[in-house]
Amino acid sequence: MSVKEQARIVGAEELSRLIGISQRVVKKISLAKGEPDWLLRFRLEALGFFSKMPLPDWGADLSRLTLSRIVSYLKTTPGSVRAWDQVPKSIRTTFERLGVPEAERKFLAGVGAQFESESVYQRLNEDLVNQGVTFCSLDEAVKLYPQVVKDYLGTIVSSSDNKFAALNSALWSGGSFVYVPDDVEVELPVQAYFRINSKNFGQFERTLIIAEPRARVHYIEGCTAPTYSEQSIHAAVVEVVAKESSKIRYTTIQNWSNNVYNLVTKRALAQKGSTVEWIDGNIGSMVTMKYPCVILAGKGARADILSLAVAGQGQEQDAGAKVIHLAPNTSANIVSKSISRDGGIATYRGLVKVEKEALGSKVSVNCDALLLDNYSKANTWPDIQVKNNRTSLAHEATVGQIDSDKIFYLMSRGISEIEAISLIVNGFIDDFSKELPMEYAVELNRLIQLEMEGSVG
């Protein structure tokens, strides 16, 4: 296959699969995409960081993820997409029970080619354009709005931030670019390509969201249905800029197949009077390390982080939240819920840092972990730092199993034990699910119900 033909394939990941990761590769990718010089230099610099930086010595178990294995993951042979009858029965059943549309099932299960929802996407895009919003892939944004991308790319998450941010910065492809001008309030949540398009499930997605002063936008990605990926590493980077008095909500639900290392760096900069909300649901993957972060850089800025982690058999969800208070009168609210069962490990890893200048900060953190048996684990590792004497901070965490009194009470009303547990667990995650758009919440509740039935039945 010629480079030109290769260039037609979406994503640097396919290229690197064929060739292997090196400066030559990065140059070829950049060339194939027709990128400007500065971006090529950006990628090469990141590659340098990647090869020099060590794996983190904390967090989830990445012991089997050596550099050579990362390279070999990238080199997996193309065309290894599976046939429908090779899809595990449990996944097919889940699709059925969740009511996932036929058309979506094959794509999510990794069967066959991409699902292009061009026409739907077109219509959606027109709505946004009419509102003055720019929504396209980041690849396109580089071509259409090079200066804007150059001004912001890598400013919130630098390429040297961590090894996987470096990997992403070198090889990124796909992901979204959302730009909302001053005073524009986007009415409908911006759904990345109606959630089912290979660009949205790329291996090294890079997303950049910018809200100008007083703008408001809600961005959603991912889905609760089980999503098969032949790629074993997903290292995404999301950068969010909330300018003065703007409001950005970013909702993610991931249910990656159990072969995936999901290593994501998500960070937002909140300027004066702005609000950033991260709604982060982690249901799938073999290992997830993800700590949505808000830097409260402007006076009166606010962070709201809602995290849900469900760790089942063979899964490790190492998730949490980070808030850095750099300015006065800033506030943060973090709510984390986790469920561990069948040997799953759920860890809340959080950082709240209130710097000296951040006088008048208010912080509230609530972590609740549900542990359903004694071969699963629930850990919390909250790092709480306050450096001034005008801060109010409260952090509470609980770990335990479902209260048997509550199960008995529901059973005394004619509800079976399995149903009672399911009702209680859905109640447990209610703080999270009530922030989701209706269809997602319904799907999530059904999914949890299925998981509970699976573990109890």
């Binding site: 008995f408 009470y409 004619g414 509800i415």
Partner: protein
């Protein structure tokens, strides 16, 4: 009829109820009294199948022995317990929960189930008749409710469950005078529908206004005295638990 024979209820190797017999015919209202710690609440929980206790003996509803049945099976068989300490379950919508419960019972009895819309109308109507704020049904189960409100929620569930036999454990505490009047009406209505009621209460007014077929005085896990009508109950109220 609800027939309890030689009931033994143990917890942590201690016998809390040691050989209790009681017969509650359909349509009758019996009153159970006893000092704190006499085992009244344990009796209710044990009859309903609480996993906290080891229970032996027999609990028969119309010749069907429930002694090995799980709590939900007992509910389906027509037994209802109005808890002294109702549970608060975060995030569980009251209306959704109750409709699930009521429909389970109706399905078991081969009765048609309620749609979301039908049930919503029914629960609101019933709530209002009990003096419960209609907005309560949209909240999470007993969340942020006062003691009195939780008791009223128990009565609401009692009415909608349509049980055969109901054990009401001090659901009058925390209720104001008007609420007690409502509760009286409810109990009278249930009686007329043939529901057998075992009422655990200290409340004189309630006892006075109801037709009571039998009273019991319980002490240390046993029924010490029992008598026709409400005389024993009234005597206990007047003279206290120490005979």
């Amino acid at each position: 009829m609800l027939k309890i024979e030689n009931l033994i209820v143990e917890a942590e190797n201690k016998k809390i109820i040691d050989g209790l017999d009681l017969v509650l015919p359909a349509g009758e209202t019996h009153v159970l009294m006893g000092a704190n710690g006499s085992g009244k609440t344990t009796l209710g929980l044990g009859l309903m199948g609480s996993p906290e206790y080891l229970v032996n003996g027999s609990i028969k509803i119309d010749d069907q022995d429930l002694i090995k049945a799980s709590a939900d099976q007992r509910a389906l068989a027509g037994l209802f317990l109005g808890f002294q300490h109702p549970q608060e379950i975060p995030g569980l919508n009251f209306r959704h929960f109750l409709r699930t419960s009521v429909n389970n019972v109706r399905r078991f009895r081969n009765q048609p189930t309620y749609s979301v819309f039908e049930f919503s109308k029914l629960i609101k109507k019933t709530a209002v008749s009990l003096g419960i704020d209609a907005s309560m049904v949209d909240r999470n189960l007993n969340q942020d409710c006062s003691g009195g409100e939780k008791k009223k929620n128990e009565l609401l569930q009692l009415l909608l469950s349509e049980p055969k036999f109901a054990i009401i454990d001090e659901c009058d505490s925390g209720l104001d005078v008007d609420a007690i009047k409502v509760m009286t009406k409810v109990l009278k209505r249930l009686k007329s529908q043939g529901v057998g009621i075992l009422l655990i209460t200290h409340y004189e007014r309630l006892i006075n206004s109801l037709d009571i077929e039998r009273s019991y005085l319980m002490t240390q896990g046993k029924i010490l005295k029992s008598g026709h009508g409400k005389d024993l109950a009234k005597a206990t109220l007047e003279f206290g638990y120490v005979s």
